[in-house]
Symmetry: D3
Amino acid sequence: MKILLANPNATEAITEGCGVLARKAASPGTEVIAWTNREGPPVVDSFYADYAAGRALSRSLARWAPPPDAVVLAGFGNYGTAAVKEVMDVPVLNLAEAALAFAIPFCHRFAVLTTSPRMIPYTQDLIALLGLAGRCSGVRAVSLPPLDSTDPSPAAAEAEVLAAVEHLVAESAADLVILGGSRLSPYAARIGDRAPVPIVEPVACAVHMAEAAVRLGLRQSKLCKFAPPPGMRDPWA
Amino acid sequence: MKILLANPNATEAITEGCGVLARKAASPGTEVIAWTNREGPPVVDSFYADYAAGRALSRSLARWAPPPDAVVLAGFGNYGTAAVKEVMDVPVLNLAEAALAFAIPFCHRFAVLTTSPRMIPYTQDLIALLGLAGRCSGVRAVSLPPLDSTDPSPAAAEAEVLAAVEHLVAESAADLVILGGSRLSPYAARIGDRAPVPIVEPVACAVHMAEAAVRLGLRQSKLCKFAPPPGMRDPWA
Amino acid sequence: MKILLANPNATEAITEGCGVLARKAASPGTEVIAWTNREGPPVVDSFYADYAAGRALSRSLARWAPPPDAVVLAGFGNYGTAAVKEVMDVPVLNLAEAALAFAIPFCHRFAVLTTSPRMIPYTQDLIALLGLAGRCSGVRAVSLPPLDSTDPSPAAAEAEVLAAVEHLVAESAADLVILGGSRLSPYAARIGDRAPVPIVEPVACAVHMAEAAVRLGLRQSKLCKFAPPPGMRDPWA
Amino acid sequence: MKILLANPNATEAITEGCGVLARKAASPGTEVIAWTNREGPPVVDSFYADYAAGRALSRSLARWAPPPDAVVLAGFGNYGTAAVKEVMDVPVLNLAEAALAFAIPFCHRFAVLTTSPRMIPYTQDLIALLGLAGRCSGVRAVSLPPLDSTDPSPAAAEAEVLAAVEHLVAESAADLVILGGSRLSPYAARIGDRAPVPIVEPVACAVHMAEAAVRLGLRQSKLCKFAPPPGMRDPWA
Amino acid sequence: MKILLANPNATEAITEGCGVLARKAASPGTEVIAWTNREGPPVVDSFYADYAAGRALSRSLARWAPPPDAVVLAGFGNYGTAAVKEVMDVPVLNLAEAALAFAIPFCHRFAVLTTSPRMIPYTQDLIALLGLAGRCSGVRAVSLPPLDSTDPSPAAAEAEVLAAVEHLVAESAADLVILGGSRLSPYAARIGDRAPVPIVEPVACAVHMAEAAVRLGLRQSKLCKFAPPPGMRDPWA
Amino acid sequence: MKILLANPNATEAITEGCGVLARKAASPGTEVIAWTNREGPPVVDSFYADYAAGRALSRSLARWAPPPDAVVLAGFGNYGTAAVKEVMDVPVLNLAEAALAFAIPFCHRFAVLTTSPRMIPYTQDLIALLGLAGRCSGVRAVSLPPLDSTDPSPAAAEAEVLAAVEHLVAESAADLVILGGSRLSPYAARIGDRAPVPIVEPVACAVHMAEAAVRLGLRQSKLCKFAPPPGMRDPWA
């Protein structure tokens, strides 16, 4: 089985980091094809970047051939997920959808850690759109070192992520925390043992759900919302 | 006052149609600058087209100089509205926001007429995101003649739009109907007198709100969600 | 165009204050007729006063002749707004409806400042009834000097209003604040520049919306909820 | 124990009808004082009438002396209920509150029958304000003979009420129906045996709840929302 | 009238405590039959205990003969309430249903005090299922002395319960507090006078509602959800 | 990996049917241990049966040794799922949780097919408790042949299931349908090709999620709601 792991941003280092997590999660027979959306923004840190990412992503994936068996969109956001679901005939999942699917049965209320204050409203909209705002007790931001920092996840950042998780649990009564951003994913393994609640790392969740969807023969419904776009073959595409 | 009326799609005929409605609505001192998103899709009829439109739109408007006094995004959808709000320092409104603002005080429950069945879930998501799903009693689609039809709004289409409005009122108990698409806007004046409920035409609503916002000194909050994107000046923009 | 600015309470000083704001907001051709509900209570500071105000208001306005082009109800509350919508054939708007219409497109979450702790539940009910509770992050009260104070908006009150706005933003993560009371309206201009978020002053919003409604030919739907009351011509009216 | 049964409208025949039902429901030691709001409208069939009723009702009850042990407001509506709760020190209940209290434990979804199409949005607002919209599957209207009809509940009207109940059950999947109007109350006993679901008659429910509240020592919280109105002793009251 | 007061847990001391409160609340002609679910758990302090209690309770009550006139389930929880409603032909009420029925008309927002932190999510689920989450401002736990403590409600515990009530009011803006647990019920009379808001004691509420339901001829709808279980007479029952 | 597939009812034929589906879904290294809750009811077709099933199930699984790697509760319902999550240290999932997790990313609105009209409210409560009512467009029942029918899924039943799916799609605008009952699961493979929307078969979904949870190191949060029950070792257990 081939799973296309599509990083919606243009940063190879993030693609690589997600690729490591994805391959670790994948079953023996699964090939993970890590792909970087080079025409996208370096990071999805605004709605502007979301649209830049989603436009490039959906256009590139619409032309992908031969099709993979499933697509994992490796960002904790929206960035055109519905557009990709329209243009692909195979199951498409993003990190938020996969993480929430695993959070729901394992908690009373989940909280999400994100990467900057401005991504809090962005994430709240994302969760509301998925229909799960009633299960979310809070969203909080943590500062990560810059992308080009020589040490991508130093002990200081690790301590900050763990502290932010503890804060979320204390202030919002969450009993499970999702690391809501591909840059946060590598911290899951480092803080999992010390965190007071289960930590959900979305990349691995998404790989498992994608594999499962392929085996189940499931994909997005093509009846209406995710049917192929009427104008997809027009010159403007 | 200069209001930029930005059509998110690439079809000049729609820009012109909206321009006519906008100028008719505008106050004497207001100049309406109708602009076509030529790098966008011919029509926003899918999520794929939504992202194509929003990416081109937000990139073009980010570079707009000198800035207008306000921006009206002339499509009944999302297509990167939040991204445009981030990149502009002046008030930005889309047709859905303006139409709903005028619907709320004048009805018990509003309904929305849209242009194709697949835009029903798209529109439901849009209304939910604005936090107004509880006031919406239904969304229904009507078929319009193709864009290149010689007669853009023949009597047959007019009758169909009116019948769809009557259906919405009967089936969903709506007491006000919004024409949810720039292609539907020209029908408002033609069916308004015969419709059983007030018909909201969004282009004129948006021009009035934009003028008012300028006079009020109001614009999108720049505190967090709509602050300028961190990477806006990066090469990828 | 004639806009009737109806103050639901009996205090002339408030009518005058609102009149100043309304005339400043109005377009050149608009005449603002400021009217005091002399049979109403001195201030709407309870549900009891709300009903006293609304009864007198709706009875007086039902007999108003010749009709104005639109009615702005100049209180941030309910006080029989739906009753006035029933008895008038022209568009009727209250301050809350107008303020929320302008808040929705320009924020992620709005908060409302009100004039006394007991008006917090009153205001929460009002926002819930408009279907917008999901967008409201909080309501908070601030103490104003008594109505007969010689200086109606001294520097101390101004500082307190600003502090309350800052509190709302910090405690509820609001990114826009509505001044929810006609007595608070004059502070908008004084604190606007120093506030961390856009401040919505409802009187001016309502004048703009009322002018727009007249130009759009919009008014409350007369199909059902706001149809003329069956017994309006009975002796008890 | 003395229960004041306050009919919010001015129609003695309705007061008498409610009085009969109330006395039948009351415990041996309870005295039901049926009172007509003679300064109110003949019937609460609009928001205009609601405010006319509520104003007169709250003013009259504020002056009531000596106080009864509890007040039942004998209309299925709002008509200033919160205002009466402010001005009374004894427990105050309206028919909707009492009916819903008994509906909640005994059904999956309740529906409400009301007396005219325009009271459907009125009733939906009422239920939403009580926070119970999620349990309500529908509101429907039935036509009753005019108030001055010689036979207040002829067989034809009875058949129509029963048919409306059956419709509500079939169309909305309700498994309990509330007769939402004091004019509908007398039909409960007549159709109860033939109805497919439990029929809730609100007058009797309210008498039982009022008696219970007195025995429990419960009344509306006087901490904030229902505290005595600040200006109650002012001349305007 | 005979009311069966069924304690879902196996602790006789709790049955006795509830019996005292119930008999005090009951009308002269009412006989309260206090019954202990001896096959149930000593206390319902988990979902595991909830199912243990509910299974034993519903099996015992299904065989109860001759039937009482009504059943009060004397625990603030779920523990198979719907199952008991299915197997009984007489009205069945639990403490939460009765307490909420009395809270709704007498407050703006209610809060619930429960007996241990883990019962907070349990109670939130319970309130959500009743459709009343929108009226609940918070749930908080207080520690009680162990069941076998020689003094079941010492002054220290009393002070702690009062402090917890005050906390709930301050932190959640509740204006009414429900004591959500049969072990908490005896504190109502002790702290009622000193509490800043009305305190709802559910056992007495339930007895009053049960009496009223009997007199009203009301019971759970047998149309669908609470119809007798299809397999009730099978050997496994 | 060992997955315990626990059928909450006592019918071996259902266990076997689920076992077939589960083993077909399982990865090569996974051993599925199909277990029948012999002390439970023959089928969970009421709340009474739900409690009978959940009590026996949670007691049996609390004593299970050595523990499996994960538990799949093979019924589309509640039947003590939270109780099992409390008593087990390994991940526990029921069919509804797994099916909804796969429905969310692949549809706009899902609908659920259940096995009898009385299970409609039961299923609505289940979905509401999971916080997903906003994504559910409808629940509908279909009649299956009796359990002891010689042909467990004859062509007639198959046609009826397909017709019910088509009805759900047409009447509720669902674009994905979940077969909500272990007795319905075998029909998924038979009707999948002809259904107008994706059909979700919950047993296979649950096996995939359980395998994934084990690999991810995820299980229900033990912080609060699902911590081991305090009295689990007491004699009554």
